[in-house]
C-alpha cells in the first residue's frame, strides 16, 4: 500500500463517523481539526516530526540548556553580575583547579569512591537480580520488583536519614549488637567511608538491579541446562555463560551507578565524615560562598562532568571490546 493510499484511508476513517455524536466523533468531523490532522499525518516524515518535537524540546530546554548555561557561567569572571560590574570571559576558573592541588584530593577521591561503590553495588545486586530472574516464578517476579521499588517512592534525603537511624551510636545496629552482648560500647559507624558507601550503594542499587534483571531475564535457560549436561559446574556456567551474556546489563548498570555516584551531594554531606569530602561538596561550597564564586563552582562542575563522561566512555569501549572478544 502506498503512503497516499494509507493517508486517504486514514482521512476517510477520520471523517467517517456520520452518526457518531460523541465529543471525539464530533471533533473528528470538525473541519479545521480534520484539515490539521490531514496535513500533520500526510507523510511519515511529518508524523515523525510531530512526535519528535516535544521530546526534543524537553531535552534541549530541560537537560542541555541548564548544562550549557553552566558551561557559559564557568567561562565568565563574575556571576551573578553585581550592579556596575562588567562581565568578561576567562579561563581563570579552570586554571584555578589545575593550579591548586588542594582541589585534586576530593576530585580523585570522588572518582575512586564512585568506582568502588559501583563495583560493590554490582557484586551485591547481581545475585539478587539472578535470583529474581532465574528462580522466582513469572507470577511472583512483579511482586518482588514492586517490593524492591517501594523504598524508591521516598526521596534521597529520607532514605539517607533512614541509614542514619540504623547506624548512629544509639541506632538499631549498635542497639542490636549491644543487646546480643557482642559490644560494650557503640561502634562509630557514622561519618565514615563505610556509612557513606552503604548509603550510596543502597540509593543506587535499583539502577544496577533493573538492567541486570532485564539482561538475565532474556538469558535462555536451555544454555545453562546444556552446559550442565556437558558437565560444567555452577561457577563455570556462571563464568562462561551468564556473565558474558549479561555484559550489556552490567555495562548499563555500572554506567548509571557510576555517573550517579559522582554527582551525589546530600548523602556524602549527611553520612560522610571529615576524611570523605567529595567533589560535589567542594563545588557546592563555591555556590554558598558569597561573592563571584559561582563561575569557579561552574568550572569545577564542568570538569567533573567531563571527567565522568570520559571515564564512562572508556569503560563502555572496554566492555564493547570484551563483547566483541566473546563473540569471536
Amino acid at each position: 500500500m502506498t503512503v497516499d493510499a494509507s493517508a486517504e484511508r486514514d482521512r476517510r476513517s477520520m471523517s467517517k463517523p456520520d452518526g457518531d455524536r460523541t465529543f471525539w466523533g464530533r471533533l473528528a468531523g470538525w473541519g479545521p481539526y480534520h484539515t490539521l490532522m490531514r496535513l500533520a499525518t500526510a507523510s511519515p516524515r511529518r508524523q515523525f516530526l510531530i512526535l519528535a518535537v516535544i521530546p526534543v524540546l524537553w531535552v534541549l530546554t530541560q537537560h542541555l540548556g541548564p548544562m550549557l548555561q553552566m558551561v557559559i557561567v564557568s567561562l565568565t569572571d563574575a556571576y551573578p553580575v553585581a550592579p556596575g560590574v562588567e562581565q568578561h570571559f576567562t579561563l581563570d576558573n579552570y586554571s584555578r583547579f589545575f593550579g591548586d592541588s588542594i582541589f585534586w584530593m576530593p576530585f580523585f577521591r570522588t572518582l575512586i569512591f564512585a568506582g568502588v561503590f559501583t563495583f560493590c553495588t554490582l557484586i551485591i545486586t547481581y545475585p539478587v537480580a539472578y535470583f529474581l530472574a532465574r528462580h522466582v516464578s513469572r507470577k511472583n517476579q512483579m511482586l518482588f520488583l514492586l517490593l524492591l521499588l517501594i523504598p524508591f517512592w521516598v526521596g534521597e534525603i529520607v532514605r539517607t536519614y533512614a541509614i542514619m537511624i540504623l547506624l548512629g551510636n544509639t541506632g538499631a545496629v549498635n542497639l542490636l549488637l549491644k543487646t546480643l552482648g557482642l559490644i560494650d560500647r557503640p561502634i562509630p559507624f557514622m561519618y565514615t567511608s563505610f556509612s557513606m558507601g552503604l548509603g550510596i550503594v543502597y540509593l543506587t542499587a535499583l539502577y544496577m538491579l533493573l538492567p541486570l534483571y532485564s539482561a538475565l531475564e532474556k538469558l535462555p535457560k536451555s544454555m545453562n541446562e546444556a552446559a550442565a549436561d556437558l558437565g560444567a559446574g555452577a561457577w563455570t556456567r556462571f563464568r562462561r555463560i551468564s556473565l558474558p551474556l549479561t555484559i550489556e546489563g552490567i555495562s548499563s548498570g555500572c554506567t548509571l551507578v557510576f555517573l550517579i555516584s559522582t554527582g551525589f551531594y546530600a548523602t556524602p554531606v549527611l553520612l560522610g565524615g571529615p576524611s570523605t569530602t567529595v567533589f560535589a561538596e567542594t563545588i557546592a561550597g563555591f555556590f554558598h560562598a558569597a561573592g563571584d564564586e559561582w563561575p569557579t563552582g561552574a568550572a569545577f562542575a564542568t570538569i567533573m562532568f567531563a571527567a565522568a563522561l570520559v571515564l564512562t566512555a572508556t569503560f563502555q569501549k572496554l566492555m564493547s571490546a570484551l563483547r566483541k572478544g566473546e563473540k569471536k
Binding site: P83, F103, N169, P188, G273, T277, A290, G291
Partner: protein
C-alpha cells in the same frame, strides 16, 4: 530520647503559639483594614512563629510565603542573581554581613519612621554601632546569638568546657563537631589574633599569615574531629544520637536541646567567642515593600512575639522585656554568667572582604586535606 524531644517540642510549639496568639490581636486590631497581597520572606527555621503567621494572614489578608535559608552566602548569591527584580521582600541578614549586601545594592535602607513598634527593640541592638551604616538603618534586629562550646553534661564537665582546647583534646577524639567557617574566627581569637581581621585591614600579608596559622591548626587536628557540619539541626541530631559529646554550636540549637530536657551545657570559653545579631531586612526593589513594612511592624508589636521567637529558635530575643515571658528553663538556656559574657565580642564587618577572601579558600583546603 527522641520521643521526649518530640513531645517536648510539641509542647513548646503550643506554648509559643499561645504566646504569639495572645500578643498579636492588640497590634492587629490597630492595623488598618485588610490589605491583601503577599509578602515573601527568606529566613531561618522557626524565625516566624507559626501562630503569629496564621493570625497575621487572617487579620491583614496578606499571605506570608516563607522560604527557609541556612546560609548567608547562599542568600547573598540568590539575591544577587535575582536583582534588580527580586522575588523576596524580607531577608534575614546577620548584622556582620550587612556591608556586603549594602555594597552590592541588595538592601533598601529601613525607614524606621514607618515602624511604629521600632521602640520595642532593646536599644543595645537597635542603636548599636554596627546597626547604622552610611547614616542609615538597614534592618530590624530580631534575635541574637553566639558561638558557644556545647557539651553533653553527663560526660563532659563544665570545667573542661571552659576552654576550646577540650574540643581538640585526645580525650574526646572523634566525639566532636564544628562548623569550619565559624571555627576559623574562633581559632584566630584563641591564638590571640583578631578573628574579625579589622586590625589587619591595612596589612593583608599579616592577615594571610594568621589565616594560614589557623588553617594549619585545624588541619593538624582534623583526625580528632568526627564531623564538619553546616546547620543547627545536624548538631542537634548528632548530640541526641550521642555521635558526639561536645562541639562548637550556635547557642540557638543548643538552647533548644536544653529546653527539650537534653543534658546539655554551653559555655563561652575563656579564650573568647563571637556573637551575632539576626535582622529582618527589606530587599532593594522588593515587590511588596508596603506589605513588608506591615509585616515588620506587626512582628515587632509585643515582647510576647519576641519570646515566642526565642522559644521556637533558642536564640535570644532583641525585644525589650521578652525574657519576662520565658519560663525558668528557657531563661537559663538563653543567658550566660557575666564572667563568660565578658569573653564575648560581636562579629564585625569592616574587614569582611579581606577576611572571606582568605577564609573561604582555607575552609576548602581544610576539607580537602
Amino acid at each position: 530520647m527522641s520521643r521526649l524531644i518530640f513531645n517536648r517540642r510539641r509542647f513548646l510549639g503550643t506554648a509559643a503559639a499561645t504566646g504569639a496568639a495572645l500578643a498579636s490581636p492588640a497590634y492587629l486590631r490597630r492595623a488598618s483594614a485588610q490589605s491583601g497581597g503577599e509578602v515573601n520572606i527568606w529566613t531561618y527555621n522557626n524565625f516566624v512563629p507559626e501562630a503569629f503567621k496564621e493570625q497575621f494572614e487572617a487579620e491583614t489578608g496578606i499571605k506570608v510565603n516563607v522560604r527557609l535559608v541556612d546560609d548567608q552566602g547562599k542568600q547573598f548569591n540568590l539575591l544577587a542573581a535575582e536583582q534588580p527584580n527580586p522575588t523576596v521582600d524580607i531577608m534575614t541578614v546577620a548584622g556582620h554581613r550587612f556591608l556586603q549586601f549594602i555594597e552590592s545594592d541588595l538592601l533598601a535602607p529601613l525607614d524606621t519612621d514607618r515602624l511604629s513598634n521600632w521602640s520595642n527593640i532593646n536599644p543595645t541592638f537597635s542603636e548599636g554601632d554596627w546597626a547604622t551604616i552610611n547614616g542609615e538603618k538597614w534592618g530590624a534586629p530580631i534575635l541574637s546569638g553566639m558561638e558557644v562550646l556545647a557539651y553533653n553534661s553527663d560526660y563532659v564537665s563544665e570545667e573542661e568546657a571552659m576552654t576550646w582546647d577540650t574540643l581538640f583534646s585526645e580525650k574526646y577524639a572523634n566525639q566532636t563537631a564544628y562548623i569550619i567557617q565559624d571555627m576559623m574566627s574562633i581559632i584566630m581569637l584563641k591564638m590571640g589574633y583578631d578573628g574579625n581581621m579589622v586590625e589587619y585591614k591595612d596589612d593583608p600579608e599579616k592577615a594571610a599569615q594568621i589565616v594560614e596559622e589557623a588553617k594549619n591548626f585545624l588541619i593538624e587536628h582534623k583526625p580528632l574531629v568526627r564531623k564538619y557540619y553546616d546547620g543547627g539541626a545536624e548538631f542537634q541530631q548528632m548530640m541526641v544520637n550521642q555521635d558526639i559529646l561536645l562541639g562548637h554550636s550556635w547557642n540557638g540549637p543548643a538552647a533548644a536541646l536544653i529546653n527539650d530536657g537534653f543534658p546539655l551545657g554551653m559555655t563561652i570559653p575563656r579564650e573568647g567567642s563571637y556573637g551575632f545579631v539576626y535582622t529582618y531586612n527589606i530587599a532593594n526593589n522588593a515587590p511588596n515593600a508596603e506589605n513588608a513594612y506591615t509585616f515588620l511592624d506587626a512582628i515587632l508589636a509585643s515582647p510576647e512575639i519576641g519570646a515566642a521567637m526565642t522559644k521556637a529558635s533558642g536564640f535570644i530575643s532583641t525585644y525589650k522585656d521578652a525574657d519576662q515571658h520565658l519560663n525558668d528553663l528557657e531563661k537559663k538556656s538563653t543567658s550566660f554568667p557575666e564572667e563568660q559574657l565578658a569573653n564575648m565580642q560581636f562579629f564585625r564587618a569592616e574587614a569582611n572582604e579581606l577576611k572571606y577572601s582568605l577564609v573561604d579558600p582555607a575552609v576548602e583546603a581544610i576539607k580537602a586535606a
